[in-house]
Symmetry: C2
Subunit: 601 residues, 2 copies
């Protein structure tokens, strides 16, 4: 091994790991051997993440704590719940899944999150933050109701303590009156910087070596333990041993080093929170990203616009890189940027407040994380009709394919909220025209799906004004079949139109609906004159989505409507093309359906 691994002695790989198939095997090792094992685990993690990407920093930081947890506690009888579960790699290695880290051909046998289908040591499929204490409260209460005796451990940290549910869990857990161990992995970091008052308090606790009179955990009713050396295996084992089988709720606060053992990750904790495949020696990405991307384009756009628009503010909850607001860009934006830590509910309500007081908030996060704030979007923003612009990233089949991070539910979730205008652009120019329009108006809450199927450019001018709501755009006037292709599936609509024209010698009509939140009744009625068939395409689940509204609109008429989109199901780690094929989302299949139904011949 080479210089990139600096913080621990280099050992021959897998001397110890070879014999570890379950946590029980750990207890056969001496303390010195456990240290060696920790190094092997670190190398196994680096082997995997350097080749297929993953959460680097927090997993490297949690190696010793995870070894100690499994040394002291008796999993799966004792139950460990990893918050977000993105820092469960060492846990996976120790619970029968090491091959997925050591053997490149087996990487795909495990996900990057805890997964009960993989192992009895995992109790939930988890991917969103701040739920671990609540889930652990539930495990503890279930145990107490049914007379169990096991330890229940929630492992939280790496930013997730700022999420409100963590506090709700702490509030409730404090009074359970039985065993509940909250292990706080404090690595001084969220995904990006830490910002809120909580983090100053954690600093106060660290600086006082846990002795500060002011202590939020004690305030909420927990016995509290602090360990400054959160990567010290011996100390961790001692501490966990001391709290094992406690009969009341405790918080064990350990100070770990994010990225521990891989110098690059230690020194740049934000970038190395999650990292794509890279060369271990240099840290260089294996795949160079070239060409345009929407993250950078939107960051440039906002930064350019800010000086003349003092009320404009870009807001994120811990994921500024979502729209390329890396440190340099954040400094440029100054007070016109805000990262509220992981707290999506607060993020959206605060945006409502800013809009109410004259500001122009742009909120960006992942489709899957907007789910956390449905109520705030509905109540604070939409009931109040406040001009908040929401940029929905990864709302697409072409985005993250972890089951917990699927982004296709946003259309069904958000498009049925009254007063919201949900725009689905079909190319780059249209996206920015929609954004520009949204920022210039004060009447509507607006969500815009950031395109995810590549940066397509418009072939001609795009509309600047979207204030006449729900006006669909006919982009190719034809007959017989009208294809309504929403957002990212517009290009599929183009392909379908071309394929029909080529094969059946007529030109179908192609429509860019632009709006997912309402129907263009005039256009739909006019289509009835020269069309018999409507095909809808949407990059979202069919249930509750766009196409079903079209089907309902034409329900009493002669018009035939075929809805194409994704299915209402949780799929994990899918391949996009396979999934599109499975769901019949190819021009060939759609034409096949129409032929089979006798609509095309």
């Amino acid at each position: 091994m080479t210089a990139y691994l600096k913080s621990f002695p280099i050992l021959e790989v897998n001397v110890y790991l070879e014999d570890i198939d379950s946590p029980a095997d750990l207890r056969k090792l001496s303390f010195g051997e456990l240290l060696g094992l920790a190094n092997e685990i670190r190398e196994a993690i680096l082997n995997r993440v350097s080749k297929i990407g993953g959460h680097v920093g927090s997993n490297l930081g949690m190696v010793e704590a995870t070894v100690a947890l499994h040394y002291v506690f008796d999993s799966p009888v004792d139950k460990i719940v990893f918050d977000v579960s993105h820092q469960s790699y060492a846990h996976k290695i120790l619970t029968g899944r090491k091959a997925a880290f050591l053997d490149d051909s087996q990487f795909k046998t495990v996900t990057g999150y805890s997964e009960p289908r993989e192992s009895v040591h995992d109790h939930f499929t988890i991917g969103h933050t701040s739920t671990s204490i609540s889930l652990a409260c539930g495990l503890a209460k279930g145990r107490d109701l049914l007379g169990g005796k096991e330890n229940i451990i929630a492992v939280i940290g790496d930013g997730s303590l700022s999420g409100g549910e963590a506090y709700e869990g702490l509030n409730c857990g404090a009074k359970l009156g039985s065993n509940l161990i909250v292990l706080l992995n404090d690595n001084e970091q969220s995904i990006s910087d830490v910002n809120g008052g909580l983090y100053d308090h954690l600093t106060e606790l660290r600086k006082s070596n846990g002795t500060s009179a002011n202590n939020i955990f004690k305030a909420l009713g927990y016995e509290y333990f602090y360990l400054e050396q959160g990567n010290d295996l011996e100390a961790l084992i001692g501490l966990f041993g001391a709290v094992k089988n406690v009969n009341h709720p405790v918080v064990v606060h350990i100070h770990t080093r994010k990225g521990r053992g891989y110098a690059l990750a230690e020194n740049n904790r934000e970038d190395w929170h999650w990292f794509p495949p890279f060369y271990l020696e240099s840290g260089e990405k294996r795949r160079k990203v070239t060409g345009e991307n929407y993250d950078t384009l939107v960051a440039d756009y906002l930064l350019k616009k800010m000086p003349d628009n003092p009320g404009l503010i870009a807001m994120v909850a811990a994921v500024p890189l979502t729209i390329d607001l890396k440190k340099a860009n954040r400094l440029k934006a100054g007070r016109q940027f805000m990262d509220v830590d992981i707290s999506e509910q607060h993020l959206l309500s605060m945006a409502a407040g800013i809009a109410r007081n004259g500001g122009t908030p742009v909120v960006a996060t992942f489709s899957t994380f907007f789910q956390r704030a449905y109520d705030q979007i509905s109540q604070d923003i939409c009931i109040n009709s406040l001009p908040v612009t929401m940029l929905v990233r990864n709302g697409s089949v072409w985005a993250g394919n972890d089951v917990t991070h699927i982004g296709w539910f946003d259309l069904a979730l958000l498009s049925n909220i009254p007063n919201l205008v949900f725009l689905c652009p079909t190319n780059c120019e249209e996206y920015f025209a929609m954004l520009e329009w949204s920022l210039g108006q004060r009447k509507h809450p607006v969500a815009i799906r950031i395109p995810r199927n590549g940066v397509h450019h418009a072939s001609g001018p795009v509309a600047c004004d979207y204030s006449e709501l729900n006006r669909f755009l006919v982009t190719k006037k034809g007959t017989n079949v009208a294809i309504l292709a929403l957002g990212d599936f517009y290009q599929m609509g183009e392909d379908l139109a071309s394929a029909i024209k080529a094969e059946f010698e007529f030109e179908p009509t192609l429509v860019n609906p632009r709006f997912a939140t309402g129907l263009d009744a005039d256009l739909l009625l006019s289509l009835a004159k020269h069309h018999d068939i409507i095909v809808t395409l949407e990059d979202g689940i069919l249930d509750g989505g766009f196409g079903q509204k079209i089907a309902s609109f034409y329900g009493a008429s002669k018009m035939k409507v075929l809805n194409y989109g994704l299915r209402k199901e949780f799929v994990d780690g899918y391949n996009v093309n396979d999934l599109l094929e499975k769901y019949g989302l190819t021009p060939r299949n759609i034409i096949g359906d129409m032929v089979r139904l006798g609509f095309l011949r």
Copy 2:
């Protein structure tokens, strides 16, 4: 005035209030006169709530603090955000809306919540808890971006501090670096009892007169002030004066008496949190509730079932009366009951944990509050396919008609979540059969809408087993027209069927779909044989709901589908019959549509 008002000297009504049309008028009064005014406000509140019902306890407790706020601060330039806004009655009285409390004919001119359309002193329509600090953070940030100087005050308390968003707001607000005043109204109470560790901490702060070294607000970065005499007008004015124009975030913790001034409400704070119309002298309800109701029926059912099912647990977030779990019933249930305070996210995740560890959780809350936990239902419960039973109360047009509490969005919200089984019973026996089935199975997350259109009884036996999902039930076999009438609209379906039969001399088919989360493809295909028309009826918004799925199913066929349901819009204070008429939800209108379309003649 009489003996029911015990805590303050009785004055002739409206000597002072008469001259108060805006907060500025307050400053013309002497201190003694302000005290008199406070009494008049209290009587005005009692006048309204005793006649039309409302939030009694917290409003009586907040009278002095509200007078002091408006005396010291300069609303609407200074902006006050009332959390939940159910304790803003005194604020309404002081800001030009006193007639809605004094003049019985004008009660309906104001809502029970803050409402910008009523007054420039209200900044948001608010009805869900724990958002005030986040909204205030937004107002403060908007001010700072645009160069304003006003004070921003969030008034929180009466239970809402346990909601995670309050903590997210505190975390963020601590670091805003400018004026932000969080007024904590601590009345020792949530809606029901207080339960979590937070409340012990508030007790610690009260008992130490705010001097406890441990202080969660200081921990999070706030300057902190405590006032034990939270109903002492002079002290309140002094304290608010001291924090006016502060240049940093502060928490002002005041200890008030819930129900203050009305002995019954002071002595039974849970029952008097919200109270229906009552006689002031006796506290007796004006309308006696007689006959069966689902709250009591389900409480009786659960309490009866608990002794033999130690894993069964009834869970609520601060609203145990939702299912009649009043104190006596809670004592009976013992550890098989849990109130997690206001914290819906935690509630649902914790239920997932209980189910994972073998327990059988039944979670009950209002339709509108499930919105807070969409993400937890989707991720923790449904991705994990955990047997959590969710009882959705007020999911109906016949329930609460405040815009923030509309319950009709649940079908569109929940029915599009994969793995969830959403059941809509049509009568009492079916409801309990569904509940019994849900509690006996371990495969599915189940939501059940508690009927809201009266306790209808089944005319014959109902199905016990719902494990074959998405099987619709044909209750009347007919021809030509098939009516699919979901849940609470089933009786409307019966009426429609009868009206068609009477007028058109054929018997339509009537279907009880039972499941809102999937289609019975076999049945739908078989209907195509002897039917041309499908009518769907649902007590939820059409967009994203049940009927549109049916329309999509038949989209490529000859079947005509007419969807009837509620519209995607926010309406406030509606009259049910007017709304049903407006939405065309009457047998007469539906028949009219079919005649107009030529489907019936």
